[in-house]
């Protein structure tokens, strides 16, 4: 399943790159890309475990940038 999210408060491109790398390491994530300029996360992940995976994504994001919020589009 493919879904898009908006990332608020993401000012640092290096942080976006770090997040992207961290999210791609999560088990069940097929592909995740962060578009820093558009403040958008596009994620393709296992549909059955999607909610659980998204929780981990949320954690990974917070770890890099605590101010950053994930909003569904």
């Amino acid at each position: 399943m493919k879904k898009k999210y908006i990332l608020s408060e993401i000012d640092c491109a290096n942080c976006a790159a770090k997040m992207e790398a961290a999210i791609n390491k999560i088990d069940g994530v097929e592909e995740a890309t962060i578009n820093f300029m558009a403040q958008k996360l596009t994620i393709e992940a296992d549909e059955e475990r999607f909610d659980e995976i998204m929780e981990q994504v949320q954690k990974a994001i917070k770890k890099v940038e605590p101010a950053c919020e994930l909003q569904s589009k």
């Binding site: 640092c12 790159a17 890309t33 578009n35 820093f36 300029m37 596009t42 770890k63 890099v64």
Partner: protein, 631 residues
């Protein structure tokens, strides 16, 4: 400014004012002298107030990140560097460096937001609402909720929210945000409309034919937004670079701190130098300016009616060396028109055309159509009863009886068969010879017309450094070569079947230099394999054509082939800005690193090397957007 930016600004102002007051007090001697022995606790207390105001978030983040295992981030470095200043009693230095850092961060945040906003403005084609008539009243609804087949009302000045067909009304429509074309298009009842255009002067009633997600505007937005996911080589390189770079820098700094400290015993001095070194080596300026540059380039291009599907394609266009064109519909208009009417002596053009049009009246061959159209456009009428017998002789033309006289209209074979005496002509187009009662009346040339801007487009491409221009066509040799000569193309391949085109493109790819890229330009309908095989596939006339948007890497929204050269100019400028940014960042940072090793650079300079350089790079990237008119 956003809320958090305003808050940061307030903190900077308050802390800055307090700092200024303290500095004045210190320098005018109102503050007690620093005691010769022992620590200056009073000074610490006073300077700690502005420091807390300006630095609390940095301290909190640093501590939190350490507990999460992220040690060497910017926050931690700033904390160590400024806390170090406090330890040795350099309070003003500690506060000032933190102030400077926060000002830089604020600048960076504002600059990023600004450029985001201006890129968004460039792509501001998304409609916010659709008007629907309900119980005699107009209601605004979300375009997402409009079902296919509904009637929407588009008032003057509003964006057309969904694709559809005009069922009532007549108005001029501005398509510039989609095509870059500034001349408005006229829409009448029955015409198709494309979402994203702006209705200009009268209300239009539109029956929708697509849902919002399938509408042109949604497709374009998705395409441009997803462009970021296909990263350019430069972008991938920097991400990889940052991943390797950060640990190397951290270990270098540790070694840099520990080894000289053991030798000299001056631990504090080397801690300061190591922190300076770490702050300046933050790769943010590099990491930020590259995606920003590509995004800006893609944004500018989309405003010009050029949709680029990824940074990698924008990057590749800069090295464009060979451009291969499809002929029909790309270099030519793809419609047959009469380009020459050559009657024999004593016969008028009108008579020749009238005779041919009547003979061809039953035929629906494209050539017959264009002759009939030319006749009616010239004010002539077709009298159906005048033709009593008409036969199509396949591969030859038409034999008909017009007002009792036998008329022949067709190729040379047809006239030869009937023993008509005439002179055979050579032409780039298709020739239709006409004879009546065995007497030759003249000939009509029908050709596919070359686009008026095609010649200019080819010479513009040469100006941008394209070395070879090639045309592939299924047409006859004479027709193809005439077009090639007229436009100044380097090579023309004719009589090709669709499958041959791939082979020719492969040969051309082999002949290309290592670095040079090959682009294929087609209408996206029959040339999907060729578009896929070439380095960059350009599709023309993308509006409303799903096939073109799917198959190509770059879609030119109107049919203007001059935009290929424009794409190359945008690409070159974007890449030159990106290179400048990489150079600025690396040179400044390396310089400061060297200075910090020798203890010449202090924390101020290091903070400039970090956030200052990032801001410079962001501002430099903005030039891609602001130069828009000159591409």
């Amino acid at each position: 400014m956003t809320k958090s930016q305003k808050k940061d600004l307030a903190r900077i102002i308050i802390a800055g004012c307090m700092f200024a007051v303290l500095m004045i007090l210190e320098h005018t001697g109102i503050l007690p002298e620093i005691p010769a022995e022992g620590y200056n606790w009073l000074g610490l207390g006073m300077f700690l107030v502005p420091y807390t105001i300006i630095a609390y978030d940095v301290v909190i983040s640093a501590v939190r990140n350490i507990t999460r295992g992220q040690v060497f981030d910017e926050n931690f470095l700033m904390l160590v560097a400024t806390a170090g200043a406090f330890v040795v009693g350099e309070f003003s230095e500690g506060v000032a460096v933190m102030l400077f850092y926060q000002v830089g961060e604020l600048f960076q945040s504002i600059a990023v937001n600004r450029s985001r906003a201006s890129i968004r403005e460039l792509m501001d084609i998304a409609p916010e609402f659709a008007n629907i008539e309900k119980d005699g009243k107009l209601v605004q609804v979300d375009p997402d909720d409009v079902e296919v087949g509904s009637t929407i009302v588009v008032k003057p000045g509003e964006k057309i929210p969904l694709d559809g067909v005009v069922i009532k009304g007549e108005s001029m429509v501005d398509t510039s945000s989609l095509t870059g074309e500034s001349v408005p298009r006229k829409l009448r009842t029955g015409d198709e409309v494309i979402s994203g255009c702006v209705n200009q002067n009268a209300t239009l009633y539109v029956k929708t034919t697509k849902e919002f997600d399938d509408s042109t505007v949604a497709k374009i937005l998705e395409l441009v937004e997803n462009a970021g996911s296909k990263k350019a080589k430069a972008e991938k390189f920097v991400t990889k670079f940052a991943r390797v770079y950060t640990p190397i820098v951290v270990f270098a700094a540790l070694a840099f701190f520990i080894i000289p400290s053991i030798i000299t015993g001056d631990w504090f001095e080397w801690l300061q130098r190591a922190c300076t070194f770490l702050v300046v080596s933050c790769p943010c300026a590099l990491v930020i300016s590259i995606p920003m540059g590509f995004f800006g380039g893609i944004g500018v291009a989309s405003r010009e009616g050029i949709l680029i599907k990824g940074g990698n394609y924008l990057e590749a266009v800069a090295d464009l060396e060979t451009v291969v064109f499809d002929k029909t519909g790309t270099l030519t208009q793809g419609v047959f028109k009469i380009t020459e009417i050559a009657p024999e002596n004593g016969i008028s053009e009108a008579t020749l055309l009238e005779t041919a049009a009547h003979a061809e009246q039953m035929s629906n061959h494209p050539i017959a159509e264009s002759i009939k159209n030319a006749h009616t456009e010239a004010g002539g009428e077709i009298d159906l009863s005048a033709v009593t017998d008409a036969q199509e002789v396949s591969g030859h033309g038409i034999e008909a009886v017009l007002r009792g006289e036998k008329v022949l209209a067709g190729n040379a074979k047809l006239l030869n068969k009937h023993g008509v005496v005439f002179e055979e002509k050579e032409s780039a187009g298709t020739i239709c010879y006409v004879a009546k009662e065995g007497k030759y009346l003249g000939h009509i040339v029908i050709s596919d017309v070359v686009k008026p801007e095609a010649k200019e487009a080819i010479s513009e491409l040469k100006d941008t450094g394209v070395k070879r221009t090639v045309m592939l066509t299924g047409d006859r040799k004479s027709a193809g070569e005439a077009v090639g000569k007229e436009l100044g193309l380097d090579k023309v391949y004719t009589d090709l079947l669709p499958a041959d085109k791939v082979g020719h493109v492969e040969d051309l790819l082999e002949e290309s230099t290592q670095k040079g890229k090959l682009a294929f330009v087609g209408d996206g309908i029959n040339d999907t394999p060729v578009l896929a095989r070439s380095d960059i596939g350009f599709a023309m006339g993308g509006i409303g054509s799903d096939a073109a948007i799917e198959a190509a890497d770059i879609v030119i929204m109107d049919d203007d082939i001059r935009k290929i050269a424009k794409t190359k100019r945008i690409s070159k400028f974007t890449l030159s800005i990106i290179r400048q940014n990489i150079a600025i960042a690396l040179i400044v940072k390396l310089g400061i690193i060297v200075l910090s090793i020798f203890g010449i650079a202090n924390m101020w300079i290091a903070v400039f090397g970090d956030v200052g350089v990032a801001v410079i790079c962001i501002l430099n990237s903005m030039r891609i957007l602001s130069r828009r008119k000159k591409y």
